[in-house]
Symmetry: C3
Subunit: 202 residues, 3 copies
């Protein structure tokens, strides 16, 4: 189950990367690279910072196949992929939820402070998108519009709050993953954004 | 003393990051991230290149509190912070001086060549600003206008020159840190820049 | 022989980095940094991902001298360097061929899957240019125009194909390095590009 969602996350991040690369009119190779980077970027950064090398995807060749397959799929069906946007957004959000948990667990395994673990979870979930935007020469969208990192952080706080009360591991994972997903879905549905700090000084 | 200046460096880098993020009209989360990255970016790169993982700030949760606190302070007082620019510039310059020394020491601990140590010192002092500018989608200012890295390099050369003559450690640190600070202050005061190499071929 | 081509690769990457920095009208320091990053960027990323730290150039001070010397040379003779563009392009292409092989060997030494090794070879050959373009605030050219990575990938495939048939190591190196070089030269000469995937949906 865990593994299946992980794969779904990889797929949806790869496809979302490919879509951005299309908009920049990159060639086939560029699309593959951007898809790849969007999928594995967050986990790679986390692995590097912890010192967990060679980094994850190098040890799981199946990841590489899945990402390349998803990108090729996106290239072939690029004209129809707009119909899939809603399900993509859902996959993407599920992926974010799971990647947050993966990052937190990596931090716990390295005996790091809860705050650092939450930061790692947020990085794992969001850095792929950040590096995608840097490579495409845009201000990373995470810094401007989306309730993205906030969802990860709330999920991470939930994780450690439940942990204090000795809630069983499996329930912690399900609940805190769900918090990430629900916060993001609600935020997007109701167009909730962080408070605007520029109102007075515009 | 050493520790106090380190903290001052962290604070001023965090605030300088927040100021740049304000100019880009980022949301609260973006401001926090940019402040954080500006503060720890240089040290993190150095730690990664040396293989000193988990990287420094992960092992010192107090750093995280200080950075987030400074960024929140900058957000709250953003309309008044312009009055502080002069003292900020001073903190920033002191921070650069100290970060240069920290980077050199990391290199020495890893038994690296003096030139590499100077490069690490310069990176530690300047990479936070570079990554801040990349994330904000600008050509890093270090590559265009400021006598910034040059001050670090001169400080590093002073460090190793004094070391050749068996000057005591504490005096080396004070003198070479002071070189970085004085060079930068004088350069900014008298608008000294590196020789322009484009005069003939414009 | 191997070592000589390595040095030639370093030199030509350093000069190509310096040329791009000139176009952006960076100061002397910026030119040195960009030259340095273009030369060692690919190998550094590969070393980081594998966990091979301190990274390569830190252990070979001679590399640093060569890169800085090349950049200074480029600065002094910048008005005449346009005459050298053809030979530079040749050096650059040879460099790419060799860096591809270096990256593959690093992957093999870390017991990684052939596909990962090919990815590492491609990274080693191309990431220096990518980071150069990011620092200069451009969409990395590799994602848009050049048959660059494709040449590395074909060379990598040749490497592992020959290896399956127990061809001697030295012949594998020469043939697969030659594939990279010839593919790139032919592609540039005959303006071959990857198939355009945007024709229908423009």
């Amino acid at each position: 189950m865990y593994y299946i969602i992980d794969i779904l996350g990889l797929i949806s991040f790869a496809i979302s990367g490919a879509l951005v690369a299309f908009n920049k009119r990159m060639d086939v190779f560029g699309v593959l690279i951007i898809a790849f980077v969007t999928s594995v970027g967050g986990g790679t950064l986390t692995d590097l910072l912890i010192g967990n090398t060679p980094v994850g995807w190098m040890k799981n060749i199946i990841y590489v196949y899945i990402i390349l397959g998803s990108a090729v799929f996106a290239i072939i069906f690029r004209s129809k992929i707009n119909y899939l946007r809603t399900s993509l957004f859902l996959f993407d959000t599920i992926g974010i939820g799971l990647y947050t948990l993966l990052g937190i667990e990596k931090g716990l395994n390295a005996n790091l402070h809860p705050l650092i673990c939450i930061a790692l979870g947020t990085m794992t979930a969001s850095f792929g998108g950040v590096i995608r935007d840097i490579l495409c020469n845009e201000i990373p969208i995470i810094f401007r519009k989306e309730v993205y990192a906030t969802a990860c952080i709330l999920g991470g706080i939930t994780f450690f709050a439940l942990r204090k009360f000795n809630v069983p591991e499996s329930i912690i994972l399900i609940v805190s993953g769900a918090v990430v997903i629900v916060v993001r879905l609600l935020a997007v549905k109701f167009k909730i954004a962080l408070p605007n700090i520029y109102s007075k000084d515009t």
